[in-house]
């Protein structure tokens, strides 16, 4: 099996989905001849031509709004927003139309749209290029939110997103893009949306994350095991909406402790929802309060201070120790 990085895995997925279903089209800024600023759509333009791989004008609301129309008329657009920090101009189209057309028309018109966008920090980028605002999309009824953690996951989850009959926003952790390789089967496969992944079994504490933080909690788990501190269970949520509370709750019922990690600002981040659901569904099983390890309620800092902002392995290990000490 080939070992691909996440850029290659997503590129391959797009290629295969476009082959599989000619209604699938890709659009966005620089996705065509340039192959995307991260090269995620590399080769698609040469393969499928400008009709199916569309370089758009610089207009995020326009990209999503136009894609909504394409989807209504029977296509399956995969729109790229160049960085998730530039998705806000499209927020209105996502909230008011992509997520509601089905409801408004009682199922007569639907929006099978995927919005792909690189997200998160850790890449020493300019302002607005390190955003992690998934929570403001999770709160939108009618929108699905997916965050893959590694290349294998990315390919399978994106295939499901493309085939899904409803709008999905697909956050690609930019720091993972070229950071790791995993085995990725050549043939197409899907990973169902709405089902979390048990990455590592354990009995002492449940570590919960998504996207780039999955690697961090996994390393933290290994360190904790190596140091004989705890056997941690590692859960990758994969999709934040719909949220698979069962996997989380089952695990917490077993371990009695939970640490949830995200780089998004703390207040109102998805960690709060995870914590609230554990409260509601498993409070009697808790040995310690759920701990959140998160970014701060600040603007994500520029490169020189980024390491202070990002949750890291040590911070997670510390949080587990804190939980164990409780």
């Amino acid at each position: 099996m080939a070992r691909l990085n996440m850029v290659e895995a997503i590129d391959q997925c797009l290629l295969q989905e476009m082959q599989r279903d000619e209604r699938v089209i890709v659009l966005g800024e620089d996705v065509g001849r340039d192959g995307g600023v991260f090269r995620v759509t590399e080769g698609l333009f040469e393969r499928f031509g400008p009709q199916r791989v569309i370089d758009t004008p610089l207009a995020e609301s326009g990209i999503v709004g136009m894609a909504i129309g394409m989807a209504i008329a029977g296509f399956r657009p995969v729109a790229e927003i160049q960085f998730s920090g530039f998705a806000y101009p499209a927020y209105d189209q996502l909230v008011c139309h992509a997520a509601r057309m089905r409801n408004r028309s009682r199922g007569e018109f639907t929006v099978p749209l995927v919005v792909r966008t690189p997200y998160g920090g850790g890449i020493r980028a300019l302002e607005h290029h390190s955003e992690s605002m998934e929570a403001v999309f999770v709160h939108v009824p009618g929108l699905k939110v997916v965050v893959p953690a590694d290349p294998y996951e990315a390919k399978g989850l994106l295939a499901s997103a493309v085939r899904d009959p409803d709008p999905v926003i697909f956050f690609e952790p930019a720091r993972v893009y070229r950071a790791i390789r995993t085995e990725v089967p050549e043939e197409p496969y899907t990973i169902p949306l709405g089902k979390a992944r048990m990455v590592r079994e354990g009995r002492d504490v449940t570590l919960i994350a998504w996207g780039a933080q999955v690697r961090i909690i996994r390393e933290a788990a290994e360190r904790l095991a190596a140091e004989g501190v705890a056997e941690a269970e590692v859960v990758d949520l994969r999709t934040l909406s719909p949220f698979d509370h069962e996997t989380v709750i089952d695990s917490v019922k077993k371990t009695g402790r939970a640490v949830v990690v995200h780089e998004a600002p703390r207040t109102g981040g998805f960690g709060a929802e995870v914590s609230a659901q554990i409260m509601e569904r498993a409070v009697l099983h808790l040995e310690a309060p759920v701990v959140r390890v998160t970014g701060f309620d600040t603007v994500p800092p520029l490169a020189k201070l980024e390491d202070y902002y990002q949750p890291d392995v040590e911070a997670v290990v510390e949080a587990v120790r804190e939980s164990l000490r409780f």
């Binding site: 207009a59 609301s61 894609a67 008329a73 028309s105 009618g142």
Partner: protein, 359 residues
């Protein structure tokens, strides 16, 4: 400033039907007597329906809605040029256009009464549901136009909006993309001179909406919006350009909102009765009737007959509407996604249990 001219443009205005009911024969579109009758009948139906809806709203049987009265010339003239396989992408003031496309009055009443089931415009009618956020739906029209072209269909897309919508970013992004992708879309602006209380002169410093086309390299034209023949002619030509050349067009129909903005508004707060009165004299239905009478297509008896027939249809629809049972709470959860997610299942179950306990 000096120097060499790069590009030059002018914007034109189309008028066919004069206020005295005569027409410019050269410009008169070819329409049979029967077609003209149908135009008239539908304009009357739209007006009568609008008036009845207004009464129902005042009785508390409908929620807030935006009236079409006075804009029938623009609205019906435009949709009259559509084929059934064309798409219509409406805003929120298009009851007349929607009726023409086959959406029933009963369904519209249901929708405006606050029952989401009324929004289920059958897909086969290629008519999108009502879009409330101003300006946003123009982009959907562009996407649909793109899809028609890509699919090799020669259908076009007609989208309605007001002059207020032209100030939104989405308007601009839509027209720009339409130009870049050369999609078969007709952007039809009902410039009724007001966006709630804001007059056109405070909406933009451009003297016309039509010239906004120039910034996007697409064709723009103004028509007298109370002149149903001019509207029909301009829209038909634009649709033909869309179908054959895949060229988008911006049409500005110069008209007037003779009613309040919606049933929640009080237009006397911001404009004079004289202004309204002057425009009432230019009523599009009356102008068409004038013409038809001169042509021998209409006499008093026939006029009364058409009005009565419209009222009968409206009454029937209202009756059907009133017999619709109220929606069940399950409707809230039914169409969020194609398949109900676990959280939604739980929430629905909790709601139903809660209300069960209250019985």
């Amino acid at each position: 400033m000096p120097i060499r001219p790069l590009v030059s443009y002018s914007i034109e205005r189309v008028e066919v039907l004069r206020e005295d009911g005569t027409v410019d024969e050269e410009l008169m579109p070819s329409l049979s007597a029967d077609e003209i009758q149908r135009l008239y009948e539908h304009m009357v139906l739209t007006r009568r329906f609008d008036e009845r809806m207004f009464k129902l709203q005042r009785q508390g049987r409908l929620g807030t809605f935006a009236r079409v009265t006075g804009q029938e010339g623009a609205q019906i003239g435009a949709v009259f040029a559509l084929r059934p396989d064309d798409w219509l992408v409406p805003a929120f003031r298009e009851n007349g256009a929607l009726l023409w496309r086959g959406i029933t009055m009963t369904q519209l009443l249901q929708y405006w009464s606050g029952d989401e089931r009324g929004g289920a415009f059958p897909r086969a009618l290629r008519t999108l549901p009502i879009s409330i956020p101003v300006g946003t739906h123009l982009l959907h029209a562009v996407g649909i136009g793109w899809a028609m072209k890509e699919a090799g269909e020669d259908s076009a897309v007609l989208t309605f909006f007001g002059e207020g919508a032209t100030s939104t970013g989405d308007f601009s992004e839509a027209l720009n993309m339409a130009g870049v992708f050369q999609v078969p879309v007709v952007f039809f602006c009902q410039n009724n001179q007001y966006a709630i209380s804001v007059p056109f002169t405070r909406q933009t410093a451009a003297p016309t909406v039509a010239q906004k086309a120039l910034g996007y390299g697409i064709f723009g034209v103004q028509v007298d919006g109370n002149d149903v023949f001019a509207v029909y002619r301009a829209t038909r030509e634009a649709l033909e350009r869309a179908r054959s050349g895949k060229e988008p067009t911006l049409i500005e129909a110069h008209t007037y909102r003779v009613t309040d903005h919606t049933t929640s508004d009080d237009a006397r707060r911001y404009r004079s009765d004289e202004e309204v009165a002057a425009w009432l004299k230019r009523d599009p239905i009356e102008r068409l009737a004038h013409y038809m009478r001169a042509q021998g297509f209409l006499d008093e008896a026939r006029e009364a007959e058409i009005a009565a027939e419209a009222d009968r249809k409206v009454a029937e629809a209202v009756e059907a509407f009133e017999s619709i049972p109220p929606p069940e709470p399950e409707e809230i959860f039914r169409h969020v996604f194609a398949q109900k997610t676990r959280p939604l299942e739980e929430q629905e179950a909790a709601l139903l249990a809660r209300w069960e306990r209250r019985r």
